[in-house]
């Protein structure tokens, strides 16, 4: 296996965010949130893991919403394929008060914008989303194309079995 093939496989196998990546992303999200007057914004990877969020998440179970949003988006992608589209890049669920707008960022991340229809409109949210998605897609492409890990993830562990025993000790 050549080096480039190894790189490709590694990139495909993991998504790594460093602190400065998240800082850049959060700054862009906060700016977008101010402009769109949305309640909160989350970035979720297509597997349903939350990446980061800004805004008021009070009363929102982030992990559950991330899993459901990712599933919803994945299901919609299949619907798009059936209709001959590669994908639907955005998806809106509109409620009486709270609504959620989902937008694909790059290939592997979903932007979920929760907004209150008393505060802003779907048009306003979509208008500002376009610019943000382009900006974030650039950041994510940079993250995905990073060749080497800047640092190891785990501190040295002597014995994985005892680590697992400790973890599950009170489960």
């Amino acid at each position: 296996m050549g080096a480039s093939e190894t790189d490709r496989k590694l990139r495909k196998a993991r998504l790594i965010f460093y602190e400065d990546d998240v800082e850049r992303i959060n700054k862009a999200l906060e700016n977008y949130q101010n402009l769109s007057k949305s309640r909160c914004n989350m970035l979720i990877d297509v597997e349903g893991h939350p990446v980061t969020q800004v805004g008021s998440t009070e009363g929102i179970n982030l992990e559950t919403i991330a899993a459901l949003v990712a599933a919803s988006f994945a299901a919609t992608k299949e619907v798009a394929k059936i209709l001959g589209e590669a994908e639907f890049s955005s998806l809106t669920h509109q409620g009486k008060h709270e609504s959620i707008q989902l937008s694909l960022v790059g290939e592997r991340t979903i932007l979920a914008t929760i907004f209150d229809s008393e505060e802003t409109t779907i048009g306003m949210v979509m208008f500002y989303t376009k610019e943000l998605v382009e900006k974030l897609a650039g950041i994510f492409a940079e993250i995905a194309n990073r060749k080497d890990l800047k640092q190891g993830v785990f501190e040295p562990m002597e014995d994985m079995e005892s680590v697992i025993d400790d973890l599950f000790g009170d489960v």
């Binding site: 899993a67 993830v153 002597e158």
Partner: protein, 344 residues
């Protein structure tokens, strides 16, 4: 696909329970949810039919705590077992880091087990995952039933990749945690092998591969505090009652070049979306333009005073006194009109 978030010092992994319909996948998850301490588990969410058959998936997050300095979280999913739901099974399997195959031990379910295992292999490959290398554990469930296949037979027919196997009675909880524990261990060992700080030192990790960790200052252990939202709790009627009429007529047709400069308070009171709110409205420009409009209003009012001969009654309105003063001091001499205040 594992997500490693240094900002949160967090690792997220996805584990999927796979197997034929009614083999006990959802029951496994229910037992994990029931027995895990409240501090470590999230909600169990099921997208199921009315008859409690899984339609899309069941899901629960499980936080295991620190592993090698990283907070480790597992997202546990089940797939719908029924043959009909293959499209949704594929979606759930997308990006899985480990799989538990839950087999029904009854002899008449063997064909369904085999079919489901083959389906798992196909779907994994379709997602770019290799059944030979993905961490996988097999669970022989329903061992309490009177007529069950021999473990050796199950192993021979289903365990193509020499995966660890566990006997279980999921309804009583037996074998549920050993299965999950083994899979968690395999997933973490794989991760440690690939991303460990000093892989050569890790007994469970194996040889280093494909990456050269560079020495770098440790990231700050604390994640950034979540930005405090400024969500106004007051009812809609109150929000709307506070007027800021200058916002609406001033919307600029073009975007502001430096939106970062906007005030932090993103929810101005009185922002009424009822009219003119259907199209995107960039933030109104504040400052000079506002002063201009105020001046025009003052002039208009002053004109009205002159034309309408207001000379006395407005004195009683405190809010208009600065206007009157302004008129008297600045405008009256220029315009040559009378005073808007009543003469002494």
């Amino acid at each position: 696909m594992v997500q490693i978030n240094f900002a949160k010092r967090e690792i997220n992994c996805k584990l999927v329970y796979y197997g034929p319909g009614l083999s006990g996948k959802t029951t496994n998850l229910e037992v994990v949810h029931k027995k895990a301490p409240a501090s470590k588990k999230g909600e169990l969410t099921s997208i199921a039919t009315e008859g409690d058959r899984t339609l899309f998936f069941d899901y629960m997050p499980l936080e295991l705590g620190k592993v090698g300095g990283m907070n480790t979280k597992f997202q546990l999913y089940t797939v719908p077992g029924q043959v009909y739901y293959n499209a949704t099974r594929k979606l759930v399997l997308q990006g899985a880091d480990g799989v538990v195959f839950v087999a029904d031990s009854q002899p008449d379910k063997m064909d369904e087990n085999i079919e489901s295992f083959q389906n798992l292999e196909e779907n994994l490959r379709e997602q770019g995952l290799q059944p030979e290398t993905i961490p996988m554990v097999l669970q022989w469930n329903k061992r309490d039933l009177p007529n069950v296949c021999d473990v050796g037979e199950l192993d021979k027919k289903l365990n193509k990749y020499s995966s660890p196997t566990f006997e279980a009675v999921a309804v009583t909880g037996e074998g549920v945690f050993p299965t999950l524990k083994k899979l968690a261990q395999m997933v973490l060992e794989k991760l440690n092998k690939e991303y460990g700080l000093n892989p050569e030192k890790n007994k469970g990790g194996g040889a280093p591969e494909a990456k050269k960790p560079e020495p770098k200052p440790e990231p700050k252990p604390e994640p950034k505090p979540e930005p405090k939202p400024e969500r106004k709790p007051e009812p809609v009627a109150e929000r709307r009652a506070e007027p800021k009429p200058e916002r609406k007529p001033e919307r600029k047709p073009e975007r502001k070049p430096e939106p970062e400069a906007l005030p932090k308070d993103r929810r101005p009171k009185g922002y009424d979306m009822g009219s003119g709110g259907r199209s995107p409205q960039p933030e109104p420009k504040k400052g000079g333009k506002g002063v201009m409009i105020l001046l025009v209003l003052i002039l208009a009012l002053a004109g009205a005073f002159i034309a309408g001969g207001y000379t006395g009654k407005l004195n009683d309105v405190p809010a208009l006194q600065p206007l009157q003063k302004f008129y008297n001091d600045k405008l009256a001499p220029t315009l040559g009109g009378g005073s808007a205040t009543q003469g002494e």
